[in-house]
């Protein structure tokens, strides 16, 4: 390690900074503007560089790593096309508030603006999809900029930060100085919740007859799960979670109601519609959660805790805003509130009745395979002790319904942006960060193809990931909407004639693979895959093709008004 005060070039400074930020993995791809960095990297041993096969893959890996570990993911790509290939991954991290630092090479500063070879204004392009971004114009600013980038990415509401580094800056020399502290006058997030607001919240909770906790990814980020469990149990408050909130509260706890919203459980949505107090913690009233706003939780007073004040009163007007860290909020409530004396058993019984009225279930047949069954079986065999990474589509929603998430950071999924192609690379990233539990992707045949090249990365590093492909040979979620809302015009969603043989594809990459088309074979394939740890393994589950995800709130509909089964049973063949 070089010491501060030594004269170093920009590339050496870059790695010195990453060391001081305790970076262990970089997901990257070289190119012209980064040659100096890769020259230095050649002799770097303590920081592992993972060579991806497409820069989008690098961003999703960094995100998978970050979500599974809580530490920021780091990406390194070259200028121009390398940089523009990161855009989807950055937007994804922005929407899901994932801490990530993306380093892009840039053409020499003297050429910026000249339409130079492989020049793209990546700072301009990513301005609306980063928490903040920087162009470093002088090597003397490099260390302090990197320090700020990590600070911004990980402090308050996390998010992606991009640092653009021109080629000449990476070669220029200066005395290396590491700023011990960061102070950004325009960035001062509020951590501590206002005591008055917390007291008011406590009073509202103690008076409520039918309270409901609605918790999101902010609880996971803040590490508030333990406190939340205590609060819910002491106050006898049922808990419903958003997609990113799954695992923030144990899914097998009697007070857990699973997910709410568009594909949430019937009883969670009924509870939202009938509660008298809704306590939103680290959640943002997304339209996939609320459905039609004017009919959302109309009988409830609403408390909203969020670290980002812009989330408050954005979609839904609340009665009591509490800006601050979710852990601070829940712990402060625990201090304020005596164990409840309210008898909430009637409310819990009401919810139980809704649960019995419309449970989540599916039928099992001997010689056909349902995605629901496969996911249920993965849940049973892993007992919730795994990192589950999904792609986007029907399989994602079934995962949220049938997998029992019991620990925070056990789900990694693209929520806000809904990025197909996220699953495989995010799984790879998660597997670099998590080695004590199985890391599994549940993906679809459409999405897997979008970043299939990263199978190379998994094979090369012998990552023991499980790729569980829910292969319906359809862009299933789109097909579902076509059936329900678009006159059964199945335009360009049937992939049967064009999909490859996924087992052969995997094998060509050097990945072990098998397939299963009935429950018995599926059960065995899952246990075989879980037992295999010498590299990745893909299982091609040949699932029923035209299955649909229910219950469902049609887009823009009221969440009290769910579709419970297909409109025309004949369409299920």
């Amino acid at each position: 390690m070089h010491q501060p005060g030594q004269k170093l070039n920009g590339s050496e400074i870059f790695f010195e900074c990453l060391r001081r930020e305790h970076v262990d993995y970089i997901f990257g791809y070289p190119g012209g503007s980064l040659l100096k960095v890769y020259e230095t990297l050649h002799d770097v041993e303590d920081i592992k560089h993972i060579l991806v096969r497409h820069e989008q893959g690098a961003t999703h890996m960094a995100e998978g790593y970050a979500r599974a570990t809580g530490r920021p993911g780091v990406v390194l790509v070259t200028s121009g096309p390398g940089a523009t290939n990161t855009v989807t991954g950055i937007a994804n991290a922005y929407m899901d508030s994932t801490p990530m630092v993306v380093f892009t090479g840039q053409v020499p500063s003297t050429l910026i603006g000249n339409d130079a070879f492989q020049e793209a204004d990546i700072v301009g392009i990513t301005r609306p999809i980063t928490k903040h971004n920087f162009l470093v114009k002088d090597v003397r600013d490099l260390a302090s900029t990197i320090r700020k980038a990590f600070y911004l990415a990980t402090t308050g509401r996390p998010g992606p930060v991009l640092v653009d580094m021109p080629k000449d800056v990476l070669a220029a020399e200066c005395v290396f100085e590491w700023p011990e502290s960061v102070d950004i006058r325009g960035f001062k997030p509020t951590f501590k919740c206002h005591a008055n607001q917390v007291s008011k919240a406590a009073k509202m909770i103690s008076k409520a007859k039918r309270p409901l906790l609605y918790v999101g990814g902010g609880v996971v980020t803040a590490g508030a799960s333990e406190a939340l469990l205590k609060l819910a149990a002491e106050q006898q408050i049922p808990v419903t979670m958003t997609l990113q909130g799954l695992g923030a509260f144990p899914g097998d706890h009697p007070l857990s109601m699973g997910m709410l919203g568009m594909h949430g459980t019937f009883w969670a949505n009924q509870a939202v519609s009938n509660c008298d107090l809704l306590i939103a913690v680290g959640a943002r009233f997304d339209d996939r959660v609320t459905g039609k706003i004017d009919t959302f939780a109309t009988q409830a007073l609403k408390i909203h805790n969020d670290i980002d004040p812009t989330n408050v009163d954005k979609n839904v007007k609340v009665d009591l805003p509490v800006v601050g860290d979710s852990k601070d909020f829940v712990e402060s409530l625990l201090n304020e509130l005596p164990k409840t004396k309210e008898d909430r058993s009637a409310w819990l019984a009401e919810i139980e009745a809704w649960r019995r009225q419309c449970p989540l279930d599916y039928t099992v047949e001997k010689d056909s395979l349902k995605t629901e069954f496969v996911i249920d079986e993965i849940s049973r065999q892993t007992k919730g002790h795994a990192v589950i990474v999904t792609d986007v589509g029907q399989h994602q929603m079934w995962t949220s319904q049938y997998y029992k998430f019991t620990e925070p950071r056990s789900i990694v999924t693209s929520g806000g942006l809904g990025t197909m192609g996220f699953g495989l690379p995010a799984t790879i990233g998660a597997a670099f960060g998590v080695t004590d539990r199985p890391v599994i992707t549940i993906c679809g045949d459409g999405g897997l193809m979008m970043n299939i090249q990263e199978l190379v990365t998994a094979v090369y590093h012998k990552l023991p990931i499980k790729i569980f492909l829910m292969n319906n040979s359809y862009l299933g979620m789109v097909r579902q909407w076509q059936e329900l809302f678009h006159k059964e015009k199945y335009s360009f969603t049937d992939l049967e004639a064009s999909n490859p043989d996924f087992v052969k594809v995997a094998e060509a990459f050097g990945c072990r693979a098998t397939s299963a088309d009935n429950p018995e074979a599926a059960r065995k394939a899952i246990s075989d895959a879980l037992a295999y740890n010498d590299g990745p393994m893909l299982v091609d589950f040949r699932v029923v093709r035209k299955d649909m995800v229910f219950p469902m709130v049609p887009a823009g509909g009221s969440i009290s008004d769910m579709l419970l089964a297909r409109l025309n049973p004949k369409t299920m063949v």
């Binding site: 700072v123 301009g124 301005r127 609306p128 928490k131 903040h132 162009l135 911004l152 950004i184 006058r185 325009g186 960035f187 980002d308 004040p309 812009t310 408050v312 009163d313 954005k314 007007k317």
Partner: protein, 159 residues
Amino acid sequence: MKHLISVLVENKFGTLNRVAAMFSARGFNLESISIGETEDPEVSRMTIVTRGEDRIISQVLKQLNRLVDTIKVTDLTHQPHVERELLLMSLKLSKSTQHEIFELSNVFKGKVVDIKQKSITIEVIGSPDKINTAIDMFRPFGIRELARSGAVAIHRGDS
């Protein structure tokens, strides 16, 4: 309703773009925006005129605050403030209108900054309302070109 927002920002390239891009990305109305250095060369002041109901304005203020390069955001609308805009306007000139134009210019405490055979350029400073009125009143003489600076504003008094 109309709101006048004053924002202190880091004097760095790209800051104006960040603010303007945020307005367009979130669909906020942006009537005018002006920016210039302050007494501290590292800090610029932006004056923004926007329109919206209270809920929108509260989002505008919060979203402005959320940008890392903004240092302080103040809604001046309901606070004592001074607001000014500069108008530069070139009008057609003829013997018959010359006198009237001079007179009207005096009414608005305007200044003649350039005069040629067939044209005259006038400068008027005042609130955006006064500038609107001035433009209406001068219109019949034939406006050749005009430029408005957008509003700039600061707090009145010691606060």
